[in-house]
Protein backbone atom coordinates (compact mmCIF):
# COMPACT_ATOMS: atom_id res chain seq x y z
CA UNK A 1 0.00 0.00 0.00
CA UNK A 2 2.87 2.37 0.83
CA UNK A 3 4.42 1.62 -2.53
CA UNK A 4 1.09 2.32 -4.19
CA UNK A 5 0.65 5.70 -2.51
CA UNK A 6 4.27 6.56 -3.20
CA UNK A 7 3.73 5.82 -6.88
CA UNK A 8 0.55 7.88 -6.89
CA UNK A 9 2.52 10.86 -5.57
CA UNK A 10 5.28 10.33 -8.12
CA UNK A 11 2.79 9.71 -10.90
CA UNK A 12 0.79 12.85 -10.23
CA UNK A 13 3.99 14.86 -10.05
CA UNK A 14 5.17 13.55 -13.41
CA UNK A 15 1.67 13.84 -14.85
CA UNK A 16 1.39 17.47 -13.77
CA UNK A 17 4.47 18.36 -15.83
CA UNK A 18 3.11 16.42 -18.82
CA UNK A 19 -0.15 18.30 -18.36
CA UNK A 20 1.53 21.69 -18.61
CA UNK A 21 3.17 20.65 -21.89
CA UNK A 22 0.10 18.82 -23.22
CA UNK A 23 -2.03 21.97 -22.86
CA UNK A 24 0.09 23.67 -25.52
CA UNK A 25 -0.48 20.82 -27.97
CA UNK A 26 -4.18 20.66 -27.34
CA UNK A 27 -4.87 24.41 -27.48
CA UNK A 28 -2.96 24.84 -30.74
CA UNK A 29 -4.72 21.82 -32.16
CA UNK A 30 -8.03 23.31 -31.06
CA UNK A 31 -7.49 26.54 -32.98
CA UNK A 32 -5.47 25.38 -36.00
CA UNK A 33 -6.11 21.60 -36.21
CA UNK A 34 -2.36 21.25 -36.39
CA UNK A 35 0.10 19.21 -34.32
CA UNK A 36 2.84 21.64 -33.35
CA UNK A 37 5.78 19.27 -33.22
CA UNK A 38 8.09 22.14 -32.32
CA UNK A 39 6.28 22.42 -29.00
CA UNK A 40 8.67 19.97 -27.30
CA UNK A 41 11.51 22.23 -28.44
CA UNK A 42 9.83 25.23 -26.84
CA UNK A 43 9.97 23.17 -23.65
CA UNK A 44 13.66 22.44 -24.30
CA UNK A 45 14.44 26.09 -25.02
CA UNK A 46 12.71 26.92 -21.75
CA UNK A 47 15.45 24.98 -19.99
CA UNK A 48 18.16 27.03 -21.69
CA UNK A 49 16.29 30.30 -21.12
CA UNK A 50 16.05 29.43 -17.43
CA UNK A 51 19.78 28.69 -17.32
CA UNK A 52 20.75 31.91 -19.09
CA UNK A 53 18.36 33.98 -16.99
CA UNK A 54 19.57 32.40 -13.75
CA UNK A 55 23.15 33.18 -14.71
CA UNK A 56 22.43 36.70 -15.93
CA UNK A 57 20.49 37.70 -12.82
CA UNK A 58 22.95 36.10 -10.42
CA UNK A 59 20.24 33.78 -9.15
CA UNK A 60 22.45 30.83 -10.14
CA UNK A 61 25.05 31.83 -7.54
CA UNK A 62 22.70 33.28 -4.92
CA UNK A 63 19.38 31.51 -5.25
CA UNK A 64 16.61 33.20 -3.32
CA UNK A 65 12.97 32.28 -3.51
CA UNK A 66 12.08 35.63 -5.04
CA UNK A 67 14.96 35.29 -7.51
CA UNK A 68 13.85 31.84 -8.61
CA UNK A 69 10.27 33.04 -9.00
CA UNK A 70 11.54 35.93 -11.13
CA UNK A 71 13.56 33.56 -13.32
CA UNK A 72 10.50 31.33 -13.69
CA UNK A 73 8.27 34.20 -14.79
CA UNK A 74 10.94 35.48 -17.19
CA UNK A 75 11.35 31.96 -18.60
CA UNK A 76 7.61 31.71 -19.20
CA UNK A 77 7.62 35.11 -20.89
CA UNK A 78 10.58 34.14 -23.11
CA UNK A 79 8.87 30.91 -24.13
CA UNK A 80 5.67 32.81 -24.87
CA UNK A 81 7.62 35.14 -27.18
CA UNK A 82 9.36 32.20 -28.83
CA UNK A 83 6.07 30.39 -29.38
CA UNK A 84 4.41 33.47 -30.86
CA UNK A 85 7.49 34.09 -33.06
CA UNK A 86 7.43 30.52 -34.38
CA UNK A 87 3.77 30.93 -35.27
CA UNK A 88 4.32 34.30 -36.93
CA UNK A 89 7.44 33.41 -38.91
CA UNK A 90 6.99 29.74 -39.76
CA UNK A 91 3.34 28.70 -39.53
CA UNK A 92 1.32 31.74 -40.53
CA UNK A 93 2.84 31.97 -44.03
CA UNK A 94 2.11 28.24 -44.45
CA UNK A 95 -1.42 28.27 -43.08
CA UNK A 96 -3.08 28.40 -46.47
CA UNK A 97 -1.00 25.58 -47.93
CA UNK A 98 -2.68 22.68 -46.20
CA UNK A 99 -2.24 20.64 -43.08
CA UNK A 100 0.47 18.30 -44.30
CA UNK A 101 2.71 21.24 -45.21
CA UNK A 102 2.12 22.76 -41.80
CA UNK A 103 3.07 19.49 -40.14
CA UNK A 104 6.29 19.26 -42.13
CA UNK A 105 7.06 22.89 -41.29
CA UNK A 106 6.59 22.02 -37.61
CA UNK A 107 9.00 19.10 -37.86
CA UNK A 108 11.50 21.35 -39.64
CA UNK A 109 11.11 23.98 -36.94
CA UNK A 110 11.72 21.32 -34.31
CA UNK A 111 14.95 20.20 -35.98
CA UNK A 112 16.07 23.80 -36.45
CA UNK A 113 15.64 24.58 -32.77
CA UNK A 114 17.34 21.37 -31.60
CA UNK A 115 20.35 21.87 -33.81
CA UNK A 116 20.64 25.57 -33.07
CA UNK A 117 20.69 24.76 -29.36
CA UNK A 118 23.27 22.06 -30.00
CA UNK A 119 25.45 24.48 -31.93
CA UNK A 120 25.22 27.28 -29.38
CA UNK A 121 25.19 25.48 -26.05
CA UNK A 122 26.25 21.85 -26.63
CA UNK A 123 24.87 18.86 -24.79
CA UNK A 124 24.36 17.96 -21.16
CA UNK A 125 24.86 21.40 -19.63
CA UNK A 126 24.62 21.29 -15.82
CA UNK A 127 21.88 23.38 -14.28
CA UNK A 128 22.57 25.05 -10.92
CA UNK A 129 20.76 23.92 -7.79
CA UNK A 130 18.19 26.65 -7.32
CA UNK A 131 16.10 25.40 -4.45
CA UNK A 132 17.10 23.47 -1.35
CA UNK A 133 15.57 20.02 -1.41
CA UNK A 134 13.60 18.87 1.59
CA UNK A 135 11.97 15.51 1.96
CA UNK A 136 9.37 14.44 4.45
CA UNK A 137 8.39 10.98 5.45
CA UNK A 138 4.64 10.72 5.88
CA UNK A 139 3.68 7.18 7.02
CA UNK A 140 6.41 5.63 4.91
CA UNK A 141 5.67 7.74 1.84
CA UNK A 142 8.42 10.12 0.78
CA UNK A 143 7.19 13.57 -0.18
CA UNK A 144 9.75 16.00 -1.52
CA UNK A 145 9.63 19.78 -1.65
CA UNK A 146 9.84 19.42 -5.42
CA UNK A 147 6.63 17.39 -5.45
CA UNK A 148 4.90 20.15 -3.54
CA UNK A 149 6.37 22.80 -5.84
CA UNK A 150 5.11 20.93 -8.90
CA UNK A 151 1.63 20.49 -7.42
CA UNK A 152 1.40 24.08 -6.20
CA UNK A 153 2.63 25.67 -9.43
CA UNK A 154 0.54 23.40 -11.65
CA UNK A 155 -2.66 23.99 -9.70
CA UNK A 156 -2.07 27.76 -9.69
CA UNK A 157 -1.43 27.77 -13.45
CA UNK A 158 -4.53 25.65 -14.14
CA UNK A 159 -6.67 28.08 -12.18
CA UNK A 160 -5.09 30.95 -14.10
CA UNK A 161 -5.65 29.20 -17.42
CA UNK A 162 -9.24 28.42 -16.55
CA UNK A 163 -9.78 32.08 -15.76
CA UNK A 164 -8.24 33.21 -19.06
CA UNK A 165 -10.14 30.70 -21.18
CA UNK A 166 -13.53 30.97 -19.49
CA UNK A 167 -13.73 34.53 -18.25
CA UNK A 168 -11.80 36.80 -20.56
CA UNK A 169 -12.72 38.10 -23.96
CA UNK A 170 -9.51 36.60 -25.41
CA UNK A 171 -10.39 33.20 -23.97
CA UNK A 172 -13.88 33.38 -25.44
CA UNK A 173 -12.34 34.39 -28.77
CA UNK A 174 -10.01 31.36 -28.58
CA UNK A 175 -12.96 29.07 -28.10
CA UNK A 176 -14.90 30.78 -30.89
CA UNK A 177 -11.94 30.43 -33.29
CA UNK A 178 -11.68 26.76 -32.32
CA UNK A 179 -15.31 26.21 -33.31
CA UNK A 180 -15.15 28.09 -36.60
CA UNK A 181 -12.29 30.24 -37.77
CA UNK A 182 -14.35 31.66 -40.65
CA UNK A 183 -17.37 32.57 -38.56
CA UNK A 184 -15.09 34.15 -35.94
CA UNK A 185 -13.39 36.30 -38.57
CA UNK A 186 -16.76 37.40 -39.92
CA UNK A 187 -17.74 38.54 -36.41
CA UNK A 188 -14.70 40.81 -36.38
CA UNK A 189 -12.60 38.63 -34.09
CA UNK A 190 -8.93 39.21 -35.04
CA UNK A 191 -8.19 35.57 -35.80
CA UNK A 192 -4.45 36.05 -36.38
CA UNK A 193 -4.00 37.72 -33.03
CA UNK A 194 -6.04 35.03 -31.30
CA UNK A 195 -3.91 32.28 -32.85
CA UNK A 196 -0.67 34.03 -31.89
CA UNK A 197 -2.04 34.40 -28.38
CA UNK A 198 -2.87 30.70 -28.23
CA UNK A 199 0.72 29.83 -29.15
CA UNK A 200 2.07 32.27 -26.57
CA UNK A 201 -0.18 30.90 -23.84
CA UNK A 202 0.69 27.26 -24.55
CA UNK A 203 4.39 28.10 -24.79
CA UNK A 204 4.34 29.96 -21.48
CA UNK A 205 2.94 26.83 -19.83
CA UNK A 206 5.67 24.75 -21.50
CA UNK A 207 8.18 27.27 -20.05
CA UNK A 208 6.76 26.67 -16.59
CA UNK A 209 7.01 22.93 -17.18
CA UNK A 210 10.67 23.16 -18.17
CA UNK A 211 11.46 25.29 -15.13
CA UNK A 212 9.91 22.62 -12.89
CA UNK A 213 11.67 19.91 -14.86
CA UNK A 214 15.19 21.37 -14.58
CA UNK A 215 14.78 22.07 -10.87
CA UNK A 216 14.17 18.35 -10.46
CA UNK A 217 16.60 17.09 -13.15
CA UNK A 218 19.41 19.64 -13.03
CA UNK A 219 20.81 19.53 -16.54
CA UNK A 220 19.74 21.00 -19.86
CA UNK A 221 20.21 19.41 -23.24
CA UNK A 222 19.06 20.14 -26.81
CA UNK A 223 17.27 16.79 -26.86
CA UNK A 224 15.69 16.99 -23.44
CA UNK A 225 12.34 17.96 -24.99
CA UNK A 226 11.91 14.89 -27.14
CA UNK A 227 10.62 12.34 -24.61
CA UNK A 228 8.55 14.65 -22.38
CA UNK A 229 7.20 16.32 -25.52
CA UNK A 230 6.20 13.01 -27.06
CA UNK A 231 4.61 11.85 -23.82
CA UNK A 232 2.70 15.10 -23.50
CA UNK A 233 1.50 14.67 -27.06
CA UNK A 234 0.33 11.15 -26.21
CA UNK A 235 -1.41 12.58 -23.14
CA UNK A 236 -3.20 15.18 -25.26
CA UNK A 237 -4.40 12.54 -27.72
CA UNK A 238 -5.32 10.23 -24.86
CA UNK A 239 -7.53 12.87 -23.28
CA UNK A 240 -9.01 13.94 -26.60
CA UNK A 241 -6.93 16.44 -28.55
CA UNK A 242 -8.47 19.89 -28.57
CA UNK A 243 -9.96 19.41 -25.11
CA UNK A 244 -8.30 21.29 -22.25
CA UNK A 245 -9.63 19.13 -19.37
CA UNK A 246 -8.87 16.11 -21.56
CA UNK A 247 -5.20 17.04 -21.81
CA UNK A 248 -4.94 17.35 -18.04
CA UNK A 249 -6.77 14.07 -17.44
CA UNK A 250 -4.71 12.26 -20.07
CA UNK A 251 -1.47 13.60 -18.63
CA UNK A 252 -2.27 12.57 -15.07
CA UNK A 253 -3.38 9.14 -16.26
CA UNK A 254 -0.21 8.73 -18.26
CA UNK A 255 1.99 9.86 -15.37
CA UNK A 256 0.28 7.41 -13.01
CA UNK A 257 0.55 4.59 -15.52
CA UNK A 258 4.25 5.15 -16.00
CA UNK A 259 5.11 5.25 -12.31
CA UNK A 260 2.91 2.24 -11.57
CA UNK A 261 4.69 0.26 -14.26
CA UNK A 262 8.08 1.37 -12.92
CA UNK A 263 7.02 0.51 -9.39
CA UNK A 264 5.39 -2.86 -9.95
CA UNK A 265 6.96 -4.14 -13.17
CA UNK A 266 10.17 -2.57 -14.35
CA UNK A 267 11.13 0.91 -15.41
CA UNK A 268 12.30 -0.44 -18.77
CA UNK A 269 8.63 -1.12 -19.56
CA UNK A 270 7.25 2.27 -18.74
CA UNK A 271 7.63 3.95 -22.13
CA UNK A 272 6.29 0.88 -23.89
CA UNK A 273 3.24 0.85 -21.64
CA UNK A 274 2.65 4.56 -22.22
CA UNK A 275 2.47 4.06 -25.95
CA UNK A 276 0.48 0.84 -25.65
CA UNK A 277 -2.07 2.78 -23.62
CA UNK A 278 -2.32 5.23 -26.51
CA UNK A 279 -2.94 2.44 -28.99
CA UNK A 280 -5.62 0.85 -26.83
CA UNK A 281 -7.44 4.15 -26.28
CA UNK A 282 -7.29 4.99 -29.96
CA UNK A 283 -8.72 1.59 -30.82
CA UNK A 284 -11.69 1.83 -28.48
CA UNK A 285 -12.21 5.58 -28.14
CA UNK A 286 -10.66 7.22 -31.19
CA UNK A 287 -11.70 10.71 -30.03
CA UNK A 288 -9.87 10.25 -26.72
CA UNK A 289 -11.23 10.11 -23.19
CA UNK A 290 -12.94 13.50 -23.11
CA UNK A 291 -12.88 14.31 -26.80
CA UNK A 292 -16.00 14.65 -28.84
CA UNK A 293 -16.53 12.68 -31.98
CA UNK A 294 -16.87 15.42 -34.54
CA UNK A 295 -18.09 14.68 -38.00
CA UNK A 296 -15.75 16.05 -40.61
CA UNK A 297 -17.19 19.11 -42.32
CA UNK A 298 -17.50 18.62 -46.03
Amino acid sequence: MTLFIQQVVNGLSLGAIYALIALGYTMVYGTLQMINFAHSEVFMMGGFFALLLARATGVAENPTLAGVALVAVATMASCALLGAAIERLAYRPMRKSGRLNLLITAIGMSLLLQNSALLVWGTNVPFPDLLPRHTWNVAGVTLSSNNLLVFGVTIALMIGLHHVVERTQMGRAMRAVAVSRDAAALMGIPVDRVIAFTFALGSALAGAASMLWVIDNPRVDPFMGTMPGLKAFVAAVLGGIGSIPGAVAGALLLGLCETMVSGYLSSTWRDAVAFMLLIVILLYRPAGLLGKNVAEKV
Binding site: R167, R172, R175, V179, D182, A183, L186, I189, P190, F197
Partner: protein
Protein backbone atom coordinates in the same frame (compact mmCIF):
# COMPACT_ATOMS: atom_id res chain seq x y z
CA UNK B 1 -25.06 55.13 -50.69
CA UNK B 2 -23.74 52.58 -48.22
CA UNK B 3 -22.85 49.57 -50.33
CA UNK B 4 -21.96 49.65 -53.96
CA UNK B 5 -20.85 46.77 -56.15
CA UNK B 6 -19.37 48.00 -59.40
CA UNK B 7 -19.16 45.51 -62.25
CA UNK B 8 -18.21 42.90 -59.68
CA UNK B 9 -17.47 39.37 -60.78
CA UNK B 10 -15.65 36.24 -59.76
CA UNK B 11 -14.45 33.26 -61.72
CA UNK B 12 -13.71 29.85 -60.33
CA UNK B 13 -11.59 28.38 -63.09
CA UNK B 14 -13.83 28.50 -66.15
CA UNK B 15 -17.01 29.14 -64.19
CA UNK B 16 -18.23 32.70 -63.86
CA UNK B 17 -20.14 32.40 -60.61
CA UNK B 18 -20.99 36.09 -60.52
CA UNK B 19 -20.53 38.50 -63.40
CA UNK B 20 -20.89 42.20 -64.07
CA UNK B 21 -22.93 42.79 -60.95
CA UNK B 22 -23.97 46.36 -60.18
CA UNK B 23 -25.69 46.69 -56.85
CA UNK B 24 -26.45 49.90 -54.97
CA UNK B 25 -27.82 49.73 -51.46
CA UNK B 26 -28.85 53.01 -49.82
CA UNK B 27 -28.20 53.64 -46.17
CA UNK B 28 -31.14 52.39 -44.09
CA UNK B 29 -32.60 50.37 -46.94
CA UNK B 30 -34.04 46.88 -46.71
CA UNK B 31 -32.77 45.23 -49.83
CA UNK B 32 -33.60 41.78 -51.14
CA UNK B 33 -31.48 39.49 -53.25
CA UNK B 34 -33.42 36.68 -54.88
CA UNK B 35 -32.93 34.12 -57.57
CA UNK B 36 -33.15 30.40 -58.21
CA UNK B 37 -30.83 27.95 -56.49
CA UNK B 38 -27.28 28.25 -57.73
CA UNK B 39 -27.84 31.78 -59.02
CA UNK B 40 -24.82 33.01 -57.03
CA UNK B 41 -26.55 34.77 -54.14
CA UNK B 42 -24.42 33.36 -51.35
CA UNK B 43 -21.36 33.96 -53.53
CA UNK B 44 -22.30 37.65 -53.54
CA UNK B 45 -22.34 37.57 -49.72
CA UNK B 46 -18.98 35.84 -49.69
CA UNK B 47 -17.62 38.51 -52.00
CA UNK B 48 -18.90 41.34 -49.85
CA UNK B 49 -17.61 39.81 -46.61
CA UNK B 50 -14.14 39.13 -47.99
CA UNK B 51 -14.30 35.34 -48.00
CA UNK B 52 -13.75 35.57 -51.75
CA UNK B 53 -11.84 38.30 -53.55
CA UNK B 54 -13.56 39.44 -56.73
CA UNK B 55 -11.64 38.82 -59.91
CA UNK B 56 -13.38 41.78 -61.56
CA UNK B 57 -14.83 45.07 -60.43
CA UNK B 58 -14.93 46.80 -57.08
CA UNK B 59 -16.94 46.68 -53.86
CA UNK B 60 -17.32 49.90 -51.91
CA UNK B 61 -18.63 50.48 -48.41
CA UNK B 62 -19.33 54.13 -47.75
CA UNK B 63 -16.54 55.94 -49.53
CA UNK B 64 -13.87 53.25 -49.56
CA UNK B 65 -13.15 50.01 -51.36
CA UNK B 66 -13.32 46.90 -49.18
CA UNK B 67 -11.77 44.58 -51.75
CA UNK B 68 -8.79 42.64 -50.42
CA UNK B 69 -9.08 43.65 -46.77
CA UNK B 70 -10.18 40.16 -45.70
CA UNK B 71 -13.09 38.96 -43.55
CA UNK B 72 -11.79 40.52 -40.32
CA UNK B 73 -11.23 43.83 -42.11
CA UNK B 74 -14.71 43.81 -43.62
CA UNK B 75 -16.29 42.95 -40.27
CA UNK B 76 -14.30 45.75 -38.64
CA UNK B 77 -15.51 48.13 -41.34
CA UNK B 78 -19.04 47.40 -40.13
CA UNK B 79 -20.46 44.47 -42.08
CA UNK B 80 -21.99 41.52 -40.19
CA UNK B 81 -23.77 38.49 -41.48
CA UNK B 82 -25.73 35.36 -40.68
CA UNK B 83 -25.38 32.05 -42.46
CA UNK B 84 -27.69 29.87 -44.50
CA UNK B 85 -26.64 26.87 -42.41
CA UNK B 86 -26.51 28.39 -38.94
CA UNK B 87 -22.94 28.76 -37.67
CA UNK B 88 -23.08 29.62 -34.00
CA UNK B 89 -20.15 29.00 -31.68
CA UNK B 90 -21.10 25.64 -30.18
CA UNK B 91 -19.60 25.05 -26.76
CA UNK B 92 -20.06 28.71 -25.92
CA UNK B 93 -23.19 29.78 -24.08
CA UNK B 94 -25.87 31.92 -25.71
CA UNK B 95 -24.57 34.92 -23.77
CA UNK B 96 -20.96 34.23 -24.73
CA UNK B 97 -21.89 33.99 -28.40
CA UNK B 98 -23.09 37.57 -28.21
CA UNK B 99 -20.28 38.74 -25.94
CA UNK B 100 -17.52 37.40 -28.15
CA UNK B 101 -18.93 39.30 -31.11
CA UNK B 102 -18.24 42.52 -29.17
CA UNK B 103 -14.52 41.75 -29.26
CA UNK B 104 -13.51 44.60 -31.50
CA UNK B 105 -15.25 47.15 -29.30
CA UNK B 106 -13.30 46.26 -26.19
CA UNK B 107 -9.96 47.86 -25.67
CA UNK B 108 -8.79 46.25 -22.43
CA UNK B 109 -5.60 44.25 -22.88
CA UNK B 110 -5.28 40.65 -21.82
CA UNK B 111 -2.79 41.67 -19.17
CA UNK B 112 -5.44 43.82 -17.54
CA UNK B 113 -7.98 41.07 -17.76
CA UNK B 114 -5.66 38.54 -16.10
CA UNK B 115 -4.93 41.01 -13.34
CA UNK B 116 -8.63 41.85 -13.15
CA UNK B 117 -7.68 45.49 -13.49
CA UNK B 118 -10.47 48.05 -13.04
CA UNK B 119 -10.82 48.73 -16.74
CA UNK B 120 -11.21 45.03 -17.48
CA UNK B 121 -13.74 44.73 -14.73
CA UNK B 122 -15.74 47.62 -16.08
CA UNK B 123 -15.60 46.43 -19.67
CA UNK B 124 -16.49 42.89 -18.71
CA UNK B 125 -19.45 44.10 -16.67
CA UNK B 126 -20.50 46.40 -19.51
CA UNK B 127 -20.22 43.69 -22.12
CA UNK B 128 -22.28 41.29 -20.02
CA UNK B 129 -24.91 44.00 -19.50
CA UNK B 130 -24.96 44.93 -23.18
CA UNK B 131 -25.16 41.30 -24.24
CA UNK B 132 -28.02 40.68 -21.81
CA UNK B 133 -29.84 43.72 -23.12
CA UNK B 134 -29.53 42.45 -26.67
CA UNK B 135 -30.67 38.97 -25.69
CA UNK B 136 -33.67 40.42 -23.90
CA UNK B 137 -34.82 42.30 -27.00
CA UNK B 138 -34.57 39.06 -28.94
CA UNK B 139 -36.49 37.05 -26.35
CA UNK B 140 -33.41 35.01 -25.51
CA UNK B 141 -32.81 36.24 -21.95
CA UNK B 142 -34.17 33.09 -20.33
CA UNK B 143 -31.84 30.84 -22.27
CA UNK B 144 -28.70 33.00 -21.87
CA UNK B 145 -26.75 30.40 -19.93
CA UNK B 146 -27.64 27.47 -22.18
CA UNK B 147 -25.16 26.19 -24.71
CA UNK B 148 -25.87 27.70 -28.12
CA UNK B 149 -26.21 24.24 -29.64
CA UNK B 150 -28.99 23.36 -27.17
CA UNK B 151 -31.38 25.97 -28.59
CA UNK B 152 -34.27 24.96 -30.81
CA UNK B 153 -33.92 25.88 -34.44
CA UNK B 154 -35.97 29.07 -34.45
CA UNK B 155 -34.12 30.52 -31.48
CA UNK B 156 -30.77 29.68 -33.06
CA UNK B 157 -31.75 31.80 -36.05
CA UNK B 158 -32.61 34.66 -33.70
CA UNK B 159 -29.37 34.25 -31.80
CA UNK B 160 -27.42 34.46 -35.04
CA UNK B 161 -29.05 37.80 -35.80
CA UNK B 162 -28.40 39.01 -32.24
CA UNK B 163 -24.75 37.94 -32.50
CA UNK B 164 -24.35 39.77 -35.80
CA UNK B 165 -25.86 42.93 -34.27
CA UNK B 166 -23.45 42.68 -31.33
CA UNK B 167 -20.65 43.64 -33.72
CA UNK B 168 -22.55 46.95 -34.16
CA UNK B 169 -22.67 46.76 -37.95
CA UNK B 170 -23.71 49.42 -40.44
CA UNK B 171 -24.70 46.71 -42.88
CA UNK B 172 -26.32 43.42 -41.95
CA UNK B 173 -26.37 40.54 -44.41
CA UNK B 174 -28.99 37.87 -43.77
CA UNK B 175 -28.59 34.63 -45.70
CA UNK B 176 -32.00 32.93 -45.94
CA UNK B 177 -33.18 33.86 -42.46
CA UNK B 178 -36.56 32.18 -43.01
CA UNK B 179 -35.12 28.88 -44.20
CA UNK B 180 -36.78 25.96 -42.47
CA UNK B 181 -39.55 28.07 -40.95
CA UNK B 182 -43.27 27.51 -41.32
CA UNK B 183 -45.40 30.36 -42.72
CA UNK B 184 -46.34 31.73 -39.29
CA UNK B 185 -42.73 31.71 -38.08
CA UNK B 186 -41.67 33.34 -41.33
CA UNK B 187 -44.31 35.99 -40.79
CA UNK B 188 -42.95 36.75 -37.29
CA UNK B 189 -39.45 36.87 -38.69
CA UNK B 190 -40.54 39.42 -41.27
CA UNK B 191 -41.62 41.77 -38.50
CA UNK B 192 -38.46 41.07 -36.55
CA UNK B 193 -36.28 42.04 -39.50
CA UNK B 194 -38.10 45.29 -40.08
CA UNK B 195 -37.97 46.02 -36.36
CA UNK B 196 -34.21 45.31 -36.28
CA UNK B 197 -33.65 47.75 -39.14
CA UNK B 198 -35.66 50.50 -37.41
CA UNK B 199 -34.30 49.90 -33.91
CA UNK B 200 -30.64 49.39 -34.68
CA UNK B 201 -30.52 51.76 -37.65
CA UNK B 202 -28.80 49.22 -39.85
CA UNK B 203 -28.99 48.66 -43.54
CA UNK B 204 -30.11 45.15 -44.38
CA UNK B 205 -29.35 43.08 -47.44
CA UNK B 206 -31.09 39.73 -47.38
CA UNK B 207 -31.22 36.58 -49.44
CA UNK B 208 -34.54 34.79 -49.20
CA UNK B 209 -36.62 32.17 -50.90
CA UNK B 210 -39.88 32.82 -49.09
CA UNK B 211 -41.50 35.20 -51.56
CA UNK B 212 -44.03 36.59 -49.06
CA UNK B 213 -41.14 37.65 -46.80
CA UNK B 214 -39.16 39.28 -49.57
CA UNK B 215 -42.11 40.99 -51.18
CA UNK B 216 -43.48 42.00 -47.80
CA UNK B 217 -40.51 43.83 -46.37
CA UNK B 218 -37.94 44.67 -49.02
CA UNK B 219 -37.95 48.14 -50.49
CA UNK B 220 -35.79 47.15 -53.37
CA UNK B 221 -34.97 43.81 -54.93
CA UNK B 222 -32.32 42.45 -57.26
CA UNK B 223 -32.89 39.22 -59.12
CA UNK B 224 -29.93 37.03 -59.94
CA UNK B 225 -29.86 34.22 -62.43
CA UNK B 226 -26.76 32.28 -63.49
CA UNK B 227 -24.56 34.79 -61.70
CA UNK B 228 -25.95 37.80 -63.56
CA UNK B 229 -28.49 40.38 -62.50
CA UNK B 230 -31.61 40.07 -64.64
CA UNK B 231 -33.78 42.64 -62.91
CA UNK B 232 -33.75 45.29 -60.21
CA UNK B 233 -36.56 47.36 -58.79
CA UNK B 234 -39.33 47.67 -56.24
CA UNK B 235 -41.28 44.55 -55.24
CA UNK B 236 -44.12 45.62 -57.52
CA UNK B 237 -41.80 46.11 -60.49
CA UNK B 238 -40.18 42.74 -59.85
CA UNK B 239 -43.53 41.02 -59.55
CA UNK B 240 -44.65 42.45 -62.87
CA UNK B 241 -41.38 41.98 -64.70
CA UNK B 242 -41.90 39.39 -67.45
CA UNK B 243 -38.20 38.50 -67.51
CA UNK B 244 -38.34 37.59 -63.84
CA UNK B 245 -41.57 35.69 -64.21
CA UNK B 246 -40.09 33.83 -67.11
CA UNK B 247 -36.78 33.06 -65.47
CA UNK B 248 -37.74 32.49 -61.93
CA UNK B 249 -41.03 33.25 -60.32
CA UNK B 250 -43.22 31.42 -62.77
CA UNK B 251 -46.51 30.23 -61.31
CA UNK B 252 -45.56 31.40 -57.81
CA UNK B 253 -46.49 34.98 -58.70
CA UNK B 254 -50.18 34.29 -58.71
CA UNK B 255 -50.02 32.29 -55.50
Amino acid sequence: MLLELQKTGIRFGGLRAVQDLDLRVERGQLYGLIGPNGAGKTTVFNLITGIYTPTEGDIRLGDRSIVGIGPVGVATAGVARTFQNIRLFGGLSVLENVQVAMFRHQSGTLFESVLRAPRFHREETESVAAAHELLKTFGLAEVATLGAEELPYGLRRRLEIARALATRPQLLLLDEPAAGMNPSEAHDLMHLIRWVRDTFHVTILLIEHHMPVVMGICERISVLDHGAQIAVGTPREIRDNPVVIEAYLGAEVGA
